[in-house]
Point group: C2
Chain length 416, copies 2
């Protein structure tokens, strides 16, 4: 499928009758819109001349202090000067890559990895190398092997990009000993560790996992975001970086957008200052846990034997593996015809892997819709298995994506 | 002066007792904050789930339709599909340069030119060549000469960047015949014309000048912004580009920030739909005209002979030339000591020109403050002239900025 076909497909998939397990949209409907409206009214009446004005390229200093408080929940400690506020953490990804990477530089990423990051690395002409994961996320042995293989070629990776908590798309989480091990390997090899943590506060049990950056700040850039904990439409994320890097990021940010929106920043600042934001994140967690349970229970009940999936302890996603060599990308048009959508796994790789995988998102649809979606998806997979049993697992079941660009079969996050 | 010295200087200059004619902040205090608060409250209560959600990488389609209506005032006609909404028009500048320019590519700019554009061209390692202006803006003869000189070297400019209306920092405006002439030269030479028009609706007399893009759309990318007509803190600008370019811009935008803020976009959309925005822009125009008049009248009354300045017919800035070889950059610390600030001209050049120039902004201070600022500035210049008359125009009067990076002596727009 070409990009245009994918777009057409997802245009169909965004119809209300389709259950979309594809997009990564937070369920912002759960916010109390009256409270939001009051918050913004108060802001504009009391500080409108600041909220509607240009601001600092590094971001509002009051918000940067509040971000420290938010990050305390994942045990990151920093100084407000270490923080650069960005137009969503996507922009932080872009700026870090812009500052650190030259064309041809090697970036290590998980297998699979976040499609928006792959797109940035590609835009800056980096060479992306996937490193294997297991049920506890990025595998340290595989990481060391990748670094050693490069060293044997006289090469060195510039950066390791990882999502340690509630991985997108894999749905797995690194334990603390593993985080320490990964950091030690990266530090020993002199590889910058770029920690992306948009979902860290959205765990379903116990305390939020302590960030890798909490183990040691040397050689780590931490990216955070309000997109999933408050609202994605505000486009406010941030990077925490050592002094020398931070200065470069601010200069790059000023060149890219002059300054982040004071309007969005101060809306969040006012919200954090006047609303019970920890309670609100807790209610998001409960909502997403209920949906995760609906997904896992119905997968368990309905999926044909041989199908496997990850069990996310937080975040938005489970990563499903199809049985008997079925191809998730080739199957997608039939799934959409059966009124269910997902993201084929190939979009999360740069190397054509992921044909047998799909990402299932449970963040947006209501639990009953999720169950209905899984029922439809199970029917499609069973149909494919019957065809395969009758005709053999022939080429008709396989899509060819060797020449795909990363992310070309992934919808924009707004597509449900 | 180094960047750190400049920062320290502008930190002092931002004290309330200093009259700042330096920054380019719109006077957003003039907005009716109660109306803004009501607008946003209504938006969040009625469409909060959309306003707080991810949106399209190209921007909200409703807002893009409204942008057509806004651009009709400068005679630009386009299709909503031709528009890409960005995080301020600075981001549009960044994306256009990212898409079109490789390191070493030549970009033609006015002499002087907007510091934020020079910063972007530098970030992408373009070679910037300044083209002379006169009282009617970019000089077509000088433009043709620059193009011919390059051709004689077997080279060609990739892009011509121009601000035709109420130029920043020069304060001059291209007439319509000149616009046609400049466009014809660029088209003949196959040079992309990048038209930056943030001030087009802020003219003080008659109709807003028709954009260059209104003459012909071939080979022109038009950049617009709500930063000066509504509010800069929302960070909403846009590019109008031909189909093939537009697709590339959207892909680059998605890589840079995923999508522009729905919250900011829909705030503007709701405002345009429900408030008398043309009336509000008219009141901005009247406010800035009064301030322009205060500046010009007091310059006329107070400046020592030999000082000259441009007479802006709109926008935010006048460009002043000092008498007798005085150096605006060297003089700045003395001006700040006298409690008045401006931007030295050198920041608007990449080639060390502009020592005898300064940009004076009248957009932000009240008229009485502007008059007081000019009085202080005139005193400083007179003092410098006395010293020069006593000791000769020696080197002490001259700053050395040969090794300056563009914009290193220009404050961020938030610094007043």
């Amino acid at each position: 499928m070409q990009a245009s076909e994918i777009r057409a497909l997802f245009a169909v998939a965004s119809r209300p009758e389709v259950v979309s397990l594809a997009g990564g949209m937070p369920f912002v409907q759960a916010l109390n819109m009256d409270l939001m409206a009051e918050t913004v009214s108060k802001l504009l009446r009391e500080r409108g001349a600041v909220a509607l004005q240009y601001g600092s390229g590094q971001g509002d200093v009051g918000l940067r202090e509040q971000i420290l408080e938010v990050m305390a929940d994942v045990k990151v400690s920093a100084h407000p000067d270490d923080i650069v506020v960005t137009t969503g953490s996507q922009m932080a990804l872009d700026l870090v890559t812009r500052v650190f990477c030259d064309p041809g530089d090697v970036v290590l990423v998980e297998a699979p990895s976040y499609v928006g990051a792959l797109g940035v690395f590609r835009a800056y002409e980096c060479e992306v190398i996937h490193v294997a994961m297991d049920d506890e996320g990025l595998n340290p042995i595989a990481l060391q092997e990748a670094i050693s293989t490069l060293a044997a070629q006289g090469r060195k990776a510039k950066m390791l990009y990882t999502i340690p908590s509630f991985h997108n798309p894999a749905g797995v989480t690194q334990g603390q000993p593993r985080r320490a091990e990964i950091l030690a390997i990266a530090q020993r090899a002199g590889v910058l560790l770029l920690e992306d943590d948009p979902y860290g506060l959205l765990g379903f049990e116990g305390e939020p996992p302590a960030a890798i950056r909490s183990h040691d700040e040397e050689g780590v850039i931490y990216l955070g975001s309000f997109s999933k904990t408050i609202a994605s439409g505000l486009r406010v994320g941030w990077a925490v970086a050592p002094h020398g890097v931070r200065e470069k990021l601010v200069l790059a940010a000023e060149s890219a957008v002059l300054c982040p929106s004071n309007y969005s920043q101060l809306t969040i600042s006012e919200y954090l200052a006047t609303q019970p934001w920890r309670e609100q994140i807790k209610s998001y967690r409960e909502l997403y846990r209920e949906r995760r349970d609906a997904l896992l229970e119905s997968l368990e009940q309905l999926m044909p034997p041989g199908t496997t999936w990850t069990t996310p302890a937080g975040g938005f996603y489970s990563w499903l593996t199809l049985p008997n060599g079925l191809d998730a990308k080739a199957m997608l048009p039939r799934a959409v015809t059966a009124l269910v959508a997902y993201v084929p796994g190939t979009g999360f790789y740069v190397n054509g892997s992921g044909h047998e995988n799909m990402r299932l998102s449970y963040c947006y649809p209501e639990p009953d819709r999720i169950r209905e979606g899984v029922r439809r998806l199970a029917g499609v997979i069973e149909g494919e298995l019957e065809i395969a049993a009758t005709f053999g697992t022939g080429s008709a079941l396989h899509s060819d994506s060797g020449s795909d660009s990363p992310g070309s079969n992934v919808p924009a996050p707004n597509l449900q």
